[in-house]
């Protein structure tokens, strides 16, 4: 891993923390969207599987070490041993798999395809790890835990679309080697 790679990984880990400090976006269906869970999708899609996953591991290490970096100012080992640990840990896998399927692939040609890939992977992994851990922790059935998490699905959908559009916009302004092109119609 080159110095630039390490710096990029650290920058995305820090971006995950910074997104947690941005105020949640209110939505018409009630549950506000926290931008922080967009970070694993962005890290995976823009850095690739290995570096994206590493950036999320770095972020989680800092959270578990006790720094209040999760949205709402939460942090500490209580997160690792709490009911939402599965969702936090799924971020590493989400970044890795989105990196594998989206980074430098044809899927990047159309934002809807990218959004669909991000959404599917985020929901499958969130359900696989997050809901499973929640159901074990709270001693409820998997379906009951899953049903309680359905309220987050519209938010995930919007975040996937956001991610895909951001990724496409960034790709348009950068060559594959990462060199800056003159920005066109950014705003």
């Amino acid at each position: 891993m080159t110095t630039k790679d390490s710096v990029l990984v650290a920058l995305f880990a820090a971006l995950t923390a910074a997104l947690g400090m941005m105020p949640p976006v209110p939505m018409p269906f009630g549950v506000p969207i926290t931008l922080q869970s967009m970070a694993p999708m962005l890290a995976g899609a823009l850095l690739g599987a290995r570096k994206g996953a590493l950036s999320q591991i770095l972020f989680l290490v800092l959270v578990f070490a006790g720094l209040p970096l999760l949205s709402g100012g939460r942090g500490g080992l209580g997160i690792l041993f709490g009911p939402t640990a599965g969702f936090a840990l799924s971020w590493v896998l989400i970044a890795a798999l989105i990196g594998y399927f989206v980074h430098n692939r044809q899927a990047q040609r159309h934002w809807l395809l990218t959004a669909l890939t991000c959404f599917t992977l985020a929901v499958i992994l969130g359900a696989g790890l997050g809901v499973t851990w929640l159901s074990v922790y709270l001693e409820t059935s998997w379906l009951e835990s899953g049903a309680s998490c359905l309220i987050f699905i519209p938010g995930e959908c919007i975040k996937s679309c956001f991610t895909a559009q951001v990724v496409i916009q960034v790709q348009k302004n950068f060559t594959p080697s990462g060199h800056n092109q003159p920005a066109k119609k950014l705003f």
Partner: protein, 204 residues
């Protein structure tokens, strides 16, 4: 940026972070196995005694549970409705015990010691070419970059407002990401020029 560590003078504070993490893991596995009310009540008593021994007052116990109080109430009602009062009580007691236990380790371990212990725990990343030393180096970089991002975010907000643009999360995040790549180039060049990375980890 402050961690959750609370300085006191007790042997729990002086105990090595790695040992505390291992003990926490074993205790968690044991707690997840049991559903006996007497065992769980005993565990809670031991934890309250440990908090007193570590020099914390009982207000901290409530403060730790405060963010999770509604989840706890919902969980109790759900289990009571679906199964029985005994199971509801057992699940809630275990929930409280696990949160108190994990938080006790967080409160008694300085953030730096905890970060070091967690970095050592990431030794399984070595086959991927990432040593614990490198992880520690990247963690230090990450901590440095968090305030930088907050500053850049404010600058972008101000620039967009100055140009009469409506606030847009998408445009804001795009602009932030667009800054990442040139910034990474500049920082990496500056670091290489100063040989800041451990020599054996430099691959280019």
């Amino acid at each position: 940026m402050l961690g959750s560590y609370r300085h006191r003078d007790s042997s729990l504070h002086r105990c090595a972070a790695g040992k505390k993490l291992l003990a926490l893991l074993l205790a968690m596995l044991a707690l997840l196995q049991t559903q006996q009310l007497s065992v769980l009540m005993g565990a809670l008593m031991v934890l309250i005694a440990l908090y007193r021994y570590a020099g914390f007052d009982s207000a901290l116990l409530w403060q730790t549970l405060r963010p999770l109080r509604w989840l706890l109430v919902l969980l109790a009602l759900f289990q009571f409705w679906q199964v029985s009062a005994d199971v509801a009580l057992a699940v809630c007691l275990r929930f409280v015990a696990l949160i108190w236990l994990a938080s006790l380790v967080t409160y008694t371990t300085p953030t730096r010691a905890m970060t070091n212990a967690l970095c050592q725990a990431l030794v399984w990343l070595k086959p991927l070419g990432i040593s614990p030393k490198k992880v520690a180096w990247m963690l230090a970089l990450t901590l440095r970059f968090v305030p930088l991002w907050i500053k850049i975010n404010q600058e972008i907000c101000e620039a967009q407002q100055a140009r009469g643009l409506k606030p847009s999360v998408k445009k804001q995040i795009t602009a932030i990401i667009m800054k990442t790549y040139p910034m990474a180039d500049e920082i990496a060049d500056a670091m290489d020029a100063r040989c800041t990375q451990p020599a054996k980890d430099v691959n280019r």
